[in-house]
Symmetry: C2
């Protein structure tokens, strides 16, 4: 977007609903009122709702629901996460793109897409990524042994849950990688790694959140178990602002992860989760384990006590609640 158009949006935003005259805008930008009017018409075509009255001026009623990468960079309060923002209207998969560039970008780079054509969930499942969501992949270069990979998923779950609770959404983490509201899925996390023994090359943290997504557009079996921020709060929210707070939370959690004992993080995870204490059925690639979820290990594995009082430590699997 050219600078004058950006400036006009900025001026109208700052004015918070009070009309600004074409003359005032023109003087600030050093252009004629006719040019201002030309830009306003162009912005309307791009989806900006700008009211105009010859007597009072222009009012910005609403912006198109797009993530604004420049605004994002402007409002980000982080030092690491989001230092490099790669924004796309559409990708096959943000995780795929992130993996392609992972070794040539600094830690903290974020890939963002408005929609994904082939969004991925865990175990090769499909992840529907319609417009209005946050579909991002964060590139990390953590110095961790491979067996500690699960911890990063837990840490991401805490960050997402904090960001959601920060805007009044009563989110809870469901092991291993979902965030739910009233039992319905609002976010999924996909953690992928590339490594040799003893050295992680990169971790790509894929996070998908239904922000303003039209739930009616989801496939039936998905829709039944899904919700969105718009659905929970009653109205759409500004995704750029929410993304900024999400990235901030991710940075806080990542710093904690690198500097604090993981046992503290486990405690917070358990507080924010609703899995511990529930009766669960966990499907792993090799077996089905039924019982009560009683804790999380140092490595991020779920501890399930079966009906014979035998403890199972499960590092990964599909978890369903059976109570």
């Amino acid at each position: 977007m050219n600078d004058n158009k950006k400036e006009i949006i900025y001026i109208l935003r700052k004015s918070e609903g009070n009309p600004v005259s074409g003359q005032e805008i023109g003087e600030k930008l050093g252009i004629t009122r006719a040019m201002v009017w030309k830009y306003v018409r162009a912005l309307r075509k791009e989806g900006y709702d700008i009211r105009s009255s010859p007597k009072t001026g222009y009012i910005l009623d609403s912006c198109p629901d797009k993530i604004d990468p420049e605004m994002l960079q402007g409002i980000l309060k982080t030092s690491l996460i989001g230092n490099d923002i790669r924004y796309y209207s559409e990708l096959e998969s943000t995780n795929n793109t992130a993996r392609e560039i992972a070794m040539s970008v600094p830690e903290g780079a974020v890939v963002i897409a408005e929609t994904q054509k082939k969004g991925r969930g865990r175990m090769g499942t499909e992840w529907q990524s319609a417009p209005g969501g946050i579909w991002i992949s964060l590139i990390l270069h953590p110095s961790i042994p491979l067996e500690n990979l699960s911890k990063i998923t837990l840490v991401a779950g805490i960050a997402v849950t904090n960001a959601l609770r920060g805007i009044g959404v009563d989110a809870r983490i469901k092991w291993p990688n979902d965030v739910l509201v009233n039992g319905k899925k609002i976010c999924g996390i996909l953690t992928e790694v590339s490594a040799e023994i003893g050295k992680v090359d990169y971790v790509v943290l894929g996070i998908g959140i239904n922000v303003n997504v039209k739930l009616s557009g989801l496939k039936d079996e998905v829709r039944r178990n899904s919700t969105s921020i718009a659905n929970e709060t009653g109205k759409p929210i500004d995704r750029t602002s929410f993304l900024a707070s999400l990235l901030y939370e991710l940075e806080q959690q990542y710093i904690r992860f690198k500097t604090r004992k993981f046992a503290e993080i486990v405690d917070e995870w358990i507080n924010l989760s609703d899995t511990i204490g529930r009766n669960v059925k966990v499907m792993t690639p090799t077996m089905l384990i039924e019982g009560k979820a009683v804790g999380i290990t140092e490595k991020g594995a779920l501890v399930v006590l079966d009906k014979n009082n035998k403890k199972h430590e499960i590092i990964a699997g599909n978890c369903r609640y059976s109570d």
Copy 2:
């Protein structure tokens, strides 16, 4: 290479040093003696040493030292490993190429290059890959948790050592991923993985063996600690045949790995290795551990007993002998 040229090589090989007349070759192939002579001259240009005498005929003295992928496929006794052979004169890195194709080829595919421009060792180090070596990467899709990745390196070490001993080279495994002869390195193994938690997408097993490599061409600090099969046996060997036996050994070990208890494999590894019982200095990304190597754990970690009798389990690191 065209079929007639291949046939001529085949006929001369079968003849095992006895001259074959141009007339006999021409009759077998349905071409004139003049054409046979034309093909022989072309083959000489490609490096085939073919003696000719008008009275007796042609004799194949030697083949150029190149891996022959078609001969390889013909002599392979495996059912999985080597089902898909990708042969290149030169690559940046066989591991890189293998990783690019890993998700679109069946398990067991092998990438081979005569030379690598940017061969990689562990931890991002350089691996010199001059002509005359075996520089290959094997693509696997094992159903193992990430923490078991080290086992694959151990299993590969056993396979390489068996293949070398099979041709009379007294090879020993040095933890974690080297094969030595009389303390000098003849082979390095680089195991790389791509995965999400709970599901390994692929493992790429990179194996580099100095077969007929000119040691004088190696950098000084590398050459001092290196050897080759040619150096140990006194003469160059046929790399295609050796590669076939290596792939066979890899398949045997991979099948064992999938079907037998890992404790058996650990026992064999210890028998073939010279690390256990030695005084070692192991450098990990975070610390230096000195002591006696006393064993290998179920996960493939080296157990080192330090001077305070404290046991350390090290999953990855640089191991030097200090005795």
